[in-house]
């Protein structure tokens, strides 16, 4: 069954689920926003950021995008607020703040 996987929800009738619950695509989890789990958020101070990128690999949620050797803004749809990035930043450019 080649149902459009992006349209499958917990209210879909059985005939609309994929056969064997296979998913014919990669990275569909991006539809699910784990940012809602957050109880504290990282705040970026771009002036202090030296683009060393040490924060990028430590993010468990792939929420620090890097392109052409430079990091961008946090993907707040997914960031769970663990604070590892703030902890490893040698320049104090990331600060964790309570709240979503």
């Amino acid at each position: 069954m080649r149902t459009d996987v992006t349209k499958i929800t917990e209210t879909s009738p059985y005939a609309e689920l994929t056969e064997g619950l296979k998913i014919y695509a990669g990275g569909t989890s991006k539809k699910f926003h784990t940012g809602e789990w957050r109880t504290s958020r990282p705040i970026m101070n771009w002036e202090k950021c030296k683009q060393c990128l040490l924060c990028a690999p430590v993010c468990p949620d792939s929420s620090i995008p890097v392109a052409d050797g430079k990091r961008g803004n946090f993907e707040m749809d997914y960031c769970k607020g663990c604070g590892i990035c703030a902890s490893v930043c040698p320049f104090g450019a990331i600060e964790m703040k309570e709240g979503q």
Binding site: V58, V66, C82, I84
Partner: protein, 314 residues
């Protein structure tokens, strides 16, 4: 192998998408991301996965966090499963049924439960048969998925839900199994041990070697679990560093039987430094339990000396 260019490596397209349900601060997904950066961007992969936190969180129907093809089978059979995929690839290529697909790599992930314990036979078989795969164990030292029960990777004296500290117990009474050595003794082309450090050069280099070594490769990655180890989520990188600096978790690799120690601390730190930040070892720091720490240190020293000996052989 190219020399490690951190910025270029970090600029590669992400192969583990966000939106997965792993815990905040999870070491497992940091490890997975690092391993997947070892894949060259032009190559495709089939990712295998033993049942684990990683599996139930990264492929929760209909959401897959994997950008590559992915297969989860069961808890105890990740080795055999990815072996089957690799065999299929070889024969379909041979029969000319896979056009434009000569760049598949096979990587499978298991936790220590699925790798050290219930899946050991399947892993051992896959290694002995020398399938062209990389098996990565993200070792967080207990069955975290089911609520922190001890595994054979759990360190001595750790407080877990099946080795609880009590009036008659100091936690787990046995030493942890040394799986990387066991796999190295399968005489596979490549076996290595690493963890999450600094700019991730060590894990990246080993993942890339493992993926691009012809034949079976195994990578054991210490991946701390803030919930099971009971430390502040933000402190993960310090914990990993202390594991290495105390020689609790040495970085080594075994290439075709040749052991190489990748890092030797200038000054070996006492094991207390690694244990103290973790709630699972809190009881070791009570007055009267000094002998337990001594025992722990003795075992760390013994294994370190053994590794020094193995890696000094030429």
């Amino acid at each position: 192998m190219n020399t490690y260019d951190f910025k270029n490596t970090m600029s590669k397209p992400e192969r583990l998408a966000p939106g997965h349900r792993m815990c905040a601060g999870c070491g497992g997904t940091i490890a997975v991301r690092a391993v997947l950066r070892g894949l060259h961007p032009e190559d495709q992969a089939v990712i295998g996965n033993a049942t684990s936190c990683l599996e139930v969180s990264t492929f929760m129907y209909p959401y897959t966090a994997w950008e590559d093809s992915y297969i989860h089978n069961a808890f105890e059979n990740a080795g055999a499963t990815i072996g089957g995929v690799e065999a299929a690839y070889n024969v379909l290529k041979k029969k000319g049924k896979l056009k434009d697909a000569d760049n598949f790599k096979f990587i499978t992930f298991g936790g220590d439960g699925g790798t050290y314990d219930i899946g050991l036979q399947s892993l051992s078989g896959a290694m002995e048969r020398n399938h062209d795969i990389l098996y990565v164990c993200y070792d967080n030292g207990a069955y975290m998925n089911t609520g922190i029960q001890r595994s054979s990777a759990t360190p001595l004296y750790a407080d877990t839900t099946t080795t609880p500290v009590g009036s008659h117990s100091n936690g787990k009474m046995q030493n942890r199994k040394d799986l990387a050595s066991i796999i190295a003794d399968h005489n596979v082309p490549y076996a290595a041990q690493t963890t999450l450090l600094g700019n991730f050069k060590d894990i990246h280099t080993k993942a890339e070697k493992g993926i691009y070594t012809k034949g079976a490769a195994f990578l054991n990655v210490m991946a701390p679990c803030p919930r099971g180890w009971r430390y502040e989520t933000s402190e993960i990188m310090d914990i990993c560093k202390l594991a290495v600096e105390t020689c609790y978790w040495p970085l080594f690799e075994v290439e075709n039987g040749k052991w190489t120690l990748n890092y030797e601390p200038r000054k070996k730190l006492p094991i207390e430094d690694f244990l103290r930040p973790q709630g699972r070892f809190r009881h070791l720091f009570k007055r009267g339990n000094e002998h337990l720490l001594e025992e722990f240190q003795t075992e760390v020293d013994r294994r370190w000396e053994d590794l020094l000996f193995k890696s000094s052989r030429t």
